[in-house]
């Protein structure tokens, strides 16, 4: 059957089972938008290409499937860069298809020409400038495979316009040949047995659970592993929910704004079982003082993560789901003698949790503390909802406060810290998971970076509830200026009234709500909860001066965790 390259793009996506793409048409990709009309996949027309890729990320986060976006050449492709980098950092499977100027015009600085494979090389797992029309289905199939296997990530396929217009005899490749790409799936047997011996010998072990567990769909395995070996668990920002916070083995989140017991527990541990995680600086604080007494078992599908930041005693390269299965099997063979005696350790950690809870000083009337706002959002929308955050204080509070119980319940931008992520990512998540409520918990700074995508939510009837924790500041930057720059606030004020978010809702023809005092909060959230068929905006005006604690100051050791501003002042006074 003779088809055009443009038809081949759509047929390839169909063959891969893609049900929705997020995109924006334009010159070089125009040919592909014609067969799209007849293709058996939905297209969500965003308002900015960055929105397309963040929506694809939200979709991938929420479903575990590959998120697909399709845009034109030049500025459209460069607008993807932030999202590609975000997906690269957080290992999100993305297929990005970009149009390119005609192959005959490449290198001539043609209209809307950009060296897209060159620009995106360091922020993609792989990319390809397609060299012939016949190559289109092969390139797309390979890209999809690379994006979704091993350590997932974004792959970009750049297709010159003349190949989209050219015809060829359609052939869907029955296999792909990537001789340089063979991810290791099974862990080394000897290493697995050695890991078990290390665990049996440990007195103060902790499972350091990372986002790789979610990517590998290993929530069940890690739960069984921790419970059967009685191992306390910290879950990183990217892993929240993979182990339920309601379990008594859960210590919360480690790192700069982690829970006290998680941060201090790691510092005291004698063994870390690091699963699908990468010893990120936001977790370790000053690296040379991180978990100083701990031996390290590190399981990761990406060999380059093992030993990158921290020397490892037992390295295991493999898919963390498979390796956990191997560990559980080895454990079953050996029996209960391998369960370390962690009773005293767990009691010690439980006492830490009791004695160092998160603290919120919420007055009974008047001002809403942001932590209260987030807690009440959760109380209303509940455990079944998916929550999507931007980057900053609201993100840290959400991660800290909500008692996560499911993988894929919490979606945020971790590694890159991309402000503006929440609005488009929440839309993508809701498109992928239509039967759950999706609630964006955004900051007022983040919201204003990407809220144009609400138009797409309205147009395509994607009923996300966009809540804005509106403190009238770039709160996290303000917090740093307050603590580390002697409260000299520099360019962090975003007036709470600018813009009027209820009027923004009105302009989009959707319900908009505002709560300015604690008395109004529950009523407003109750109204938003009751409406299920349209996007909504909820403007929650909160205390502008609240700060996120606990906190490890940047560059400090995790031993120097502070729990309140008063403690910081005492620390400062003692230093002076």
């Amino acid at each position: 059957m003779q088809v055009t390259g443009a038809q081949a793009v759509m047929m390839s996506l169909e063959a891969l089972g893609v049900d929705v793409v997020f995109g924006y048409p334009g010159g070089a990709i125009l040919p592909a938008y014609d067969p799209l009309i007849d293709a058996s996949l939905d297209h969500i027309l965003v308002r900015h290409e960055q929105g397309a890729i963040h929506a694809a990320e939200g979709y991938a986060h929420a479903t575990g499937r590959v998120g697909v976006c399709i845009v034109t050449s030049g500025p459209a492709a460069t607008n993807l860069v932030t999202g590609l980098c975000d997906a690269h950092m957080d290992s999100i499977p993305i297929l990005a298809i970009t149009g390119q100027v005609a192959s005959t015009a490449i290198g001539s600085d043609a209209f809307q020409e950009a060296d897209v494979t060159g620009i995106t090389m360091p922020v993609t797992k792989h990319n390809e400038l397609v060299a012939s029309v016949e190559r289109i289905p092969v390139a797309i199939k390979e890209a999809f495979h690379i994006a979704s296997t091993g350590r997932p990530g974004p792959v970009l396929v750049d297709i010159p316009k003349d190949f989209l217009n050219a015809s060829f005899e359609w052939r869907w490749p029955d296999h792909i040949d990537l001789p340089g790409y063979r991810p290791t799936i099974r862990g080394h047997g000897r290493m697995v047995r050695e890991a078990l011996d290390f665990i049996a010998a440990a007195k103060r072990p902790i499972v350091y659970a990372g986002g790789g567990l979610i990517r590998a769909d290993a929530a069940e395995e890690v739960r069984e592993f921790a419970r059967s070996l009685q191992l306390p668990v910290v879950t990183t920002l990217m892993a929240r929910g993979v182990f339920p916070e309601t379990d008594e083995l859960a210590l919360g989140m480690p790192g700069m704004h982690g829970h006290y017991a998680a941060v201090k527990g790691l510092q005291e541990a004698d063994l870390l079982i690091a699963l699908g995680t990468r010893f990120d600086d936001r977790v370790t604080g000053r690296l040379d003082t991180f978990a100083p007494h701990a031996r390290i078992i590190h399981v990761d599908v990406d060999p380059a993560e093992i030993g990158k930041n921290r020397a490892v005693d037992v390295p295991i390269v493999g898919d963390v789901k498979v390796v956990l299965g191997q560990l559980l099997k080895a454990f079953a063979d050996k029996g209960d003698e391998m369960v370390p005696d962690t009773i005293a350790w767990r009691e010690h950690l439980a006492a830490m949790k009791r004695e160092h809870p998160l603290r919120v000083d919420q007055p009974e009337t008047g001002v809403i503390k942001p932590q209260t706002a987030i807690r009440r959002i959760y109380d209303h929308f509940g455990d079944e909802a998916i929550y999507v955050a931007g980057v900053g204080q609201h993100q840290m509070w959400s991660s800290q406060i909500i008692p996560w119980t499911r993988p894929r319940q919490w979606i945020n931008s971790g590694g890159l810290g991309t402000m503006g992520f929440a609005v488009p990512a929440a839309i993508g998540a809701q498109v992928g998971v239509p039967d759950r409520r999706v609630v964006a918990i955004d900051g007022d700074g983040c919201f204003q970076m990407t809220f144009q995508e609400i138009a797409a939510a309205v147009q395509f009837e994607v009923p996300v509830v966009f809540t804005v924790i509106n403190n009238g500041f770039l709160g996290m930057v303000r917090q740093w200026q307050h603590l580390f720059y002697d409260d000299r606030l520099s360019e962090v004020a975003l007036p709470q009234t600018l813009p009027d978010l209820v009027k923004i809702a009105d302009a989009y023809g959707i319900p908009g709500w505002r709560a300015s005092s604690i008395e109004e909060l529950d009523g407003v959230l109750g109204k938003a909860l009751a409406i299920t068929d349209t996007p909504q905006i909820v403007d929650i005006r909160v205390d502008p001066e609240e700060m996120v604690f606990p906190m490890v100051p940047a560059g400090a050791s995790n031993d120097d965790l502070i729990e309140s501003v008063a403690e910081w002042r005492e620390r400062q006074a003692a230093a002076d």
Partner: protein, 174 residues
């Protein structure tokens, strides 16, 4: 800091050199020299990369290289178990009275005279980097007009080949 020679087999695809060079610069690794050329398989090129780094970092370099989809195989060559060569062209000022001295010197290093005119001659030499440096030092007093040196190329000693038993044989789908 230690000098390490990596032999890297890559798929002969557009942009593969940019991927490798980009990875090195992005991660702050320092390349001493890099040479690329064809192999016995037309779909495969061989890069010889010399880097200066400590052992722990070398492991990261190799792992990061391995993550590139077009990289097929990487081998660190032990200097005692491999042959390493660089190619040198050097243009030396040569008056009629110094010519024979220069030719004699070139002979000692197994070098060839590849061009001569009234005022200069060009010498081609190949050898280990240290050996070439010694030759240059001895030519210096005559006046070096210009010179160029290739990156190091290297192969392991003995009958074994890096492609033995490896998966580098490829079938092209398209």
């Amino acid at each position: 800091m230690h000098r390490h020679t990596l032999s890297v087999l890559v798929e002969n695809k557009p942009g593969v050199l940019a991927r490798i060079a980009g990875m090195f610069s992005r991660r702050g690794y320092n390349i001493h020299s890099l040479a690329v050329g064809p192999t016995e398989d037309e779909d495969v090129s061989r890069l010889t990369i010399v880097i200066g780094t400590e052992a722990a970092k070398l492991e990261q370099v190799i792992k990061q290289l391995n993550k590139l989809i077009h990289v097929l195989k990487i081998l660190e060559l032990d200097p005692d178990e491999s042959v390493e060569l660089e190619l040198q062209l050097v243009k030396v000022a040569a008056a009629p009275q110094t010519r024979s001295q220069i030719i004699e010197l070139a002979d000692v290093f197994g070098a060839r005279i590849v061009d001569v005119d009234h005022e200069a001659m060009t010498i081609e030499a190949s050898g280990a980097p240290g050996e070439l440096a010694r030759m240059i030092a001895l030519l210096e007093p005559f006046g070096i007009r210009e010179m160029v040196r290739s990156g190091t190329i290297a192969l392991g000693r003995g009958s074994r080949s890096m492609t033995d038993g490896s998966k580098v044989r490829m079938q092209r789908v398209v």
